[in-house]
């Protein structure tokens, strides 16, 4: 079956026995659609239905004397119609079979009692993806899996009095978000703001919505729900802004993720898992936040993890910060604060020093890392030779201690030793010497804005050192 756009594929049944695609109920002024004949769940466009009704009113196949009844529909556009004079669909089954259009329902007095918008998704969605939407009342599954083309009721006013706060009436014309959140897929959502709409009407709306494989998800839901470090992670939506020191300046954030010393990927996995839970994900004491309808909090660009501005019902602000992340990930975390400004910690580079076998085997061997070309007279080769400090302010020197390599951190954006210009490449001279097996060796290199800086020290075998008792 396929979506019906040609009225020739629709037929009216004489009685309400489900024997044809359509039953025109002149008694109750209802249009009923049946999954029968050519009509499948692929549905029928509202324009096609309108065209079919016109033909039926003209031909009156079953001598229902249709011409004696007010015609049910008024076209506004190809994708917007009105049911008038008391006509309406028979119920949800019929309404949810309508594609590519919206409609208004007016009672016999001409007052609006219903509005339905046609929701159409544009983009690549897997056939088995279960999309859902939120009109401010919680997550509601789309009728069919795959990309959406379905009508959604946005207004109900049973007595047509224009008051939507009574009985079961509602006005949801100003809130709509469609979500695609499937395990191991990139999350996506689209809301009215994304298509430049503030108030919906009974027309078709097209939302950009696509997904794809998420390579950062490597653990299944059970592992995330039951094992560390995931079980120690949490999300807290704060009622007051939380001041966080980033690189010496304080910034406010309203949403704090506790990473429980997980990797950036693990933290991301946890958050994505939480955002598929139809339950409260707020670890704080303030407002409850339903996971399925909460805003996305994180996204990866390459290997860099970005936090995203998100709605915070508790009121502390929309900025998202991650605490208790792994130190080695500090260079690939970007936080967005309450002012929607991205913040990053000063870059910490890494220097790996590799030692040859003669230094590794020498119990007395030591190494030193000096700046090579600082301003002034504080470089290697001079009495004021300046030892490079690591990110914690500790000199880069020590015993080789049988290690084949030793790694040091370097505050690339902050280090200003000896007048060094922060955030610039640092030329260094690395020296090592042993006694019994390692000769003197030195090498030069440059610490760049990278965690892959490597300098190798391969000392010749010592054969001429002597220390007689």
């Amino acid at each position: 079956m396929a979506l019906i756009i040609d009225p020739d594929y629709l037929n009216d049944s004489a009685v309400d026995d489900g024997s044809a695609e359509v039953f025109i109920d002149t008694t109750n002024l209802k249009i009923k659609l049946n999954i029968e004949g050519y009509l499948s769940t692929d549905g029928v466009t509202i324009k096609c239905l309108y065209s079919f009704l016109k033909e039926e009113w003209r031909n009156d196949t079953h001598t229902k004397n249709l011409a004696s009844f007010p015609f049910p529909m008024i076209p506004i556009t190809d994708e917007s119609f009105e049911f008038v004079d008391g006509w309406n669909f028979d119920g949800y089954q019929s309404q949810y079979l309508i594609r590519t259009g919206g409609w208004t329902v007016r009672n016999t007095s001409g007052n609006v009692i219903e509005k339905w918008a046609g929701i159409i998704g544009l983009g690549s969605i897997n056939a088995d993806d279960q999309l859902y939407y939120n009109q401010g009342e919680g997550a509601v599954d789309v009728q069919l899996t795959g990309q959406i083309n379905q009508a959604v009721q946005i207004l109900r006013d049973d007595d047509g009095d224009g008051v939507f706060s009574e009985d079961d009436d509602y006005d949801r014309t100003d809130t709509f978000t469609i979500f695609c959140r499937e395990y191991s897929q990139v999350y996506n959502s689209a809301s009215l703001a994304d298509i430049g709409v503030s108030i919906m009407d009974s027309i078709a709306y097209r939302f950009p919505l696509s997904t794809g494989t998420d390579l950062k998800i490597t653990h299944n839901d059970n592992a995330i729900a039951t094992t560390a470090p995931y079980t120690g992670m949490s999300i807290t939506y704060h009622a007051t802004p939380q001041s966080i020191d980033i690189g010496g300046s304080n910034y406010n954030f309203g949403i704090i993720i506790d990473g429980n010393n997980g990797t950036a990927e693990q933290i991301y996995e946890f958050i994505q898992y939480q955002l598929r839970q139809d339950s409260n994900i707020n670890a704080g004491l303030d407002d409850e936040v339903n996971g399925k309808t909460a805003d996305a909090l994180l996204s990866f660009v390459g290997d860099t993890l970005y936090t995203r501005t998100a709605t915070n019902p508790a009121g502390g602000g929309t900025g998202v910060f991650i605490e208790n992340y792994q130190v080695v990930d500090v260079n690939r975390l970007v936080f967005v604060d309450n002012t929607a400004t991205q913040r990053t910690f000063p870059y910490v580079a890494a220097l790996t020093i590799n030692f040859g076998a003669n230094l590794t085997a020498d119990a007395s061997s030591k190494y030193w890392v000096y700046f090579t070309d600082l301003p002034g007279d504080a470089d290697y080769g001079k009495s004021g030779g300046t030892l490079v400090e690591d990110a914690d302010g500790v000199d880069m020197t020590g015993d080789v201690d049988s290690n084949t390599s030793i790694q040091h951190s370097f505050a690339y954006d902050a280090n200003n030793q000896g007048g060094r210009t922060p955030a610039s490449e640092a030329a260094v001279t690395v020296v090592a010497i042993g006694l019994n097996t390692g000769q003197y060796v030195r090498a030069t290199g440059t610490i760049t804005r990278s965690t892959s800086n490597v300098i190798s020290l391969v000392a010749a075998l010592e054969r001429n050192y002597a220390n007689p008792a």
């Binding site: 007395s364 030591k366 030193w368 000096y370 290697y380 080769g381 001079k382 009495s383 004021g384 030779g385 030892l387 020197t397 020296v431 010497i433 006694l435 000769q439 003197y440 030195r442 054969r463 001429n464 050192y465 002597a466 220390n467």
Partner: protein, 153 residues
């Protein structure tokens, strides 16, 4: 022999007139570097020392890093200085020594080996057992009163 390593001026200062082996100077320099003086350019580079038999090695060579300015300054006195070992400047055109501060006259002799092979003697005088026994027998047959003096060391 004591050595003073002046890294700032890249000068090795000898504090006595006693002869010394260059491998001793090299070894003491390495120890000096390890005591927190790695910021200065290295004073030495060596070659050789590889064993080629149980008792023989490739003769070791020591190159003073004159390119970075290292020199040796003798002790402050008129004397004759004897250095044993294959010591050369890194740059053949550079001097190994610098003058004493006090304008003393120092006669420097570097006793280099022309052999490409060195001999590694771990203990004893260097004599074979037969040589030792033969000399010992001669010594025992010389009356002590015929010896004018004995020198130790």
């Amino acid at each position: 022999m004591g050595y003073i390593f002046d890294g700032y001026n890249t000068t090795i200062i000898l504090d006595s007139t006693t002869e010394f082996n260059i491998d001793d100077l090299y070894s003491r320099w390495k120890e000096w570097v390890l005591t927190g003086n790695a910021m200065y350019p290295p004073a030495f580079r060596t070659l050789g020392g590889e064993p080629i038999s149980l008792t023989q090695t490739v003769a070791p060579y020591f190159f003073l890093n004159t390119i970075d300015g290292w020199v040796i300054r003798p002790a402050e006195s008129n004397h004759e200085l004897k250095i044993i070992g294959n010591l050369y400047p890194e740059d053949p055109n550079d001097p190994l020594f610098t003058q004493t501060l006090g304008g003393y006259t120092v006669l420097i002799t570097i006793e280099r080996s022309s052999a490409a092979i060195g001999y590694e003697i771990n203990l004893g005088s260097g004599l074979s057992t037969d040589e030792h026994n033969w000399l010992n027998a001669i010594f025992k047959n010389i009356p002590l009163q015929t010896i004018l003096a004995l020198r130790q060391g």
